[in-house]
């Protein structure tokens, strides 16, 4: 009986996985890729390389993706559909770079100041979306999304004109002082930025499971009407949550600047779709905090793995996006139902 029960629980997942596998296989066959090479190339590209160089690449992606996922998760669990992570990320990255470039002083202090500035910038940008919703009636979903664009272009302008490193010939800021660059783990090209992500993750876990504020925001997320009825300060919770979530996004921006590019390059935080990957990483695990880092690593591996697959078997690495989307379609439609209800939109679910 029990066995039968577990059977019933497991079977749909097996079927889901089979579906996903089938679709990926179909894509590979479509491009006529040699399966063996493709798969080994994927594995190599995600975890292999000389001295695990590719694994390091995967980890350094993980740092950013998981960071964004954590940021998004805090909003989602509070029932705030903040998909403006991209804007908050950019705001953070730009603030970090400019602070580090313009602020004189001992490197460590500059670094700390820059990181704080990044978090502040991210928080403010997220708050803006919150204010639009609470006081202007602009749905957070749309407001936060549209706010991505202005900040993206503002940043682009900043590094294209006033703060541009002209001789470099690129649309990018000057380098941040070399002393502020995040160190690499000995013998690798992986910077210690991932430690910041781990810290943020730890914070998020404690916050979600064991703090009063986290508890209240969770209730608000599950039912805003309920939260209001039992007298929780819904508006304040909303703004505070957005601020926290934005601050973490900003932190991620700083990690990208000090750990990877050492300056702000136009588009460096937007084009890799870090924010969107973060969102789907959260959706994949239905907003369960402890699982978020894992799914962040998973998607990072999918992306670097795809690049490996391209090198090894000539499969266009764009397949990564497709794989991610397919996984979300199949898996997330099984686990996360708690979103549209917030918008009070969508057709009536069971």
């Amino acid at each position: 009986m029990a066995a039968h029960g577990t059977m019933r629980a497991v079977l749909p997942w097996v079927i889901t996985l089979l579906w996903i596998a089938a679709i990926i296989l179909a894509l590979l066959l479509f491009v006529g890729a040699p399966l063996g090479e493709a798969l080994s190339g994927f594995w190599q590209g995600a975890f292999g390389g000389r001295r695990h160089a590719y694994l390091m690449a995967t980890l350094s992606r993980t740092a950013l993706i998981t960071g964004m996922a954590i940021s998004v998760m805090l909003s989602f669990r509070a029932g705030l559909f903040n998909i403006g992570g991209e804007g908050q990320l950019v705001a953070g990255g730009l603030a970090a770079a400019l602070t580090a470039i313009l602020l004189p002083g001992p490197p460590l202090l500059v670094l700390v100041a820059a990181i704080l500035a990044a978090m502040l910038a991210g928080a403010l940008w997220a708050l803006l979306a919150g204010v639009l919703q609470l006081y202007m009636g602009v749905p957070l979903l749309v407001g936060s999304l549209l706010l991505n664009y202005p900040v993206r272009y503002l940043a682009s302008y900043a590094v294209a004109h006033p703060f541009r490193d002209v001789p470099s010939g690129m649309v990018q800021s000057h380098l941040v002082p070399q002393e502020t660059w995040l160190a690499y783990f000995p013998g690798t090209r992986l910077d210690i930025g991932i430690l910041f992500t781990l810290a943020a993750t730890a914070f998020a876990l404690v916050y979600s499971y064991w703090t009063v504020h986290g508890y209240h925001t969770r209730l608000n997320g599950l039912s805003a009407d309920f939260a209001r009825t039992v007298g929780l300060p819904v508006r304040r919770l909303t703004l505070q949550t957005l601020a926290i979530s934005g601050a973490i996004a900003g932190l991620v921006g700083a990690i990208a600047v000090f750990g990877i590019h050492h300056r702000y390059i136009d588009g460096m935080l937007v084009q890799p779709l870090y924010a969107w990957t973060g969102i789907i990483a959260v959706l994949l695990v239905g907003m369960v905090p402890w699982a978020v880092p894992l799914s962040g690593f998973f998607f990072a591996a999918v992306q670097t793995g795809a690049a490996g697959m391209e090198r090894a078997a000539g499969v266009p690495k764009e397949i990564a996006l497709v794989i991610q989307a397919v996984i979300i379609l199949f898996v997330a439609s099984r686990v996360s139902g708690a979103l549209s209800s917030k918008e009070g939109r969508g057709d009536g679910h069971a």
Partner: protein, 304 residues
């Protein structure tokens, strides 16, 4: 500034920007009215744009290109339905996934089929030509706007009243509205709301597909990665603002389209490119804020 607004080529450029947004928004309206929260218009548009090029390239005629675009859009609609309606996936999650799917699939196929990245352009891609309306083209400002556009533009114009009448008087239109407002009642009446919503999604896909075709085989004759570049989201906003009512939708789309094309013109006036790039989104935000704020004020009188 004024001379710029009177510049016929500016007037002529507006429809090129309005058409994709309008078509996508009309599709979105179908879903909105049917109670499907479809914010995947961006993905639908992009898919359409790609399929249009594919069709036009292999068939050699833009009409089959447009047909392919519609078909691809409908297919996306079916995917949406499968996961949102049948598998009960959250509408927003499904939308995000479909947007990613479209971005991924188009770039993937671009390389898999044409073995290029970034953009695909080829003389074999035959686009829609301009249709000149003899008398109308002589009207001062409206002339160049109304005449010399692609057939898709006229199709978009026509769909506004058509959709209006359809929703008001057609059996399916009636049921779509019911599915959006009180699906349970529809069920009690023996009509499956899901089926109605499925049809709405397919219709949405077709319209978005055409919108995509306008982007890729009417505005130009080539496909560029991420060609929809946020227009689908602007359409979403237009739908939310107007709650899917065709005529107001038309006005909003017109406004957004005009700003979009204006943003190119003002660059000539020495405004930094980044700021002109910003204009459409700022305009959208502004309209959104003003209307929402106004609505909120008006609604304050009500319960809830």
């Amino acid at each position: 500034m004024l001379d710029l607004l009177l510049d016929p080529s500016f007037a002529a450029s507006i429809p090129r920007f309005v058409t994709p947004i309008l078509l996508a928004a009309l599709g979105g309206a179908l879903c909105e009215r049917a109670g499907v929260f479809n914010i995947a218009l961006e993905g639908f548009l992009l898919t359409g744009a790609f399929a249009a090029v594919l069709g036009a390239y292999y068939s050699g005629t833009p009409y089959l290109g447009a047909a392919a675009a519609m078909a691809a859009g409908m297919a996306m609609g079916l995917v949406f339905a499968e996961f949102n309606l049948r598998r009960d996936g959250d509408a927003i999650v499904v939308s995000i996934a479909i947007n990613l799917l479209a971005a991924g699939l188009t770039t993937f196929l671009l390389r898999a089929i044409f073995n290029v990245t970034g953009a695909f352009s080829d003389p074999a891609i035959v686009g829609f030509g301009a249709i000149r309306l003899p008398l109308i083209e002589d009207i001062p400002v409206l002339g160049p706007m109304l005449s010399g556009q692609s057939i898709l533009f006229y199709a978009a114009l026509a769909s506004v009243p058509v959709l209006h009448v359809f929703l008001a008087r057609h059996r399916l239109g009636l049921r779509i509205r019911a599915a959006g407002e009180n699906a349970e009642a529809l069920r009690a009446g023996g009509v499956s709301p899901r089926r109605v919503q499925l049809l709405a999604l397919v219709g949405c896909g077709a319209l978005c597909g055409l919108g995509g075709a306008q982007l890729s085989i009417a505005n130009v004759n080539l496909f560029v990665e991420n060609m929809s570049a946020g227009r689908g989201w602007i359409a979403v906003v237009a739908v939310l603002l107007t709650r899917g009512r065709p005529w107001p939708l038309f006005c909003i789309a017109l406004l957004f389209g005009a700003v979009d094309s204006l943003s190119f013109r003002v660059q000539g006036m020495g405004l930094a490119q980044q700021f002109t790039d910003m204009m459409p989104y700022l305009a959208t935000l502004t309209v959104l804020i003003v209307l929402s704020w106004w609505r909120a004020r008006r609604a304050r009188g009500d319960v809830s």
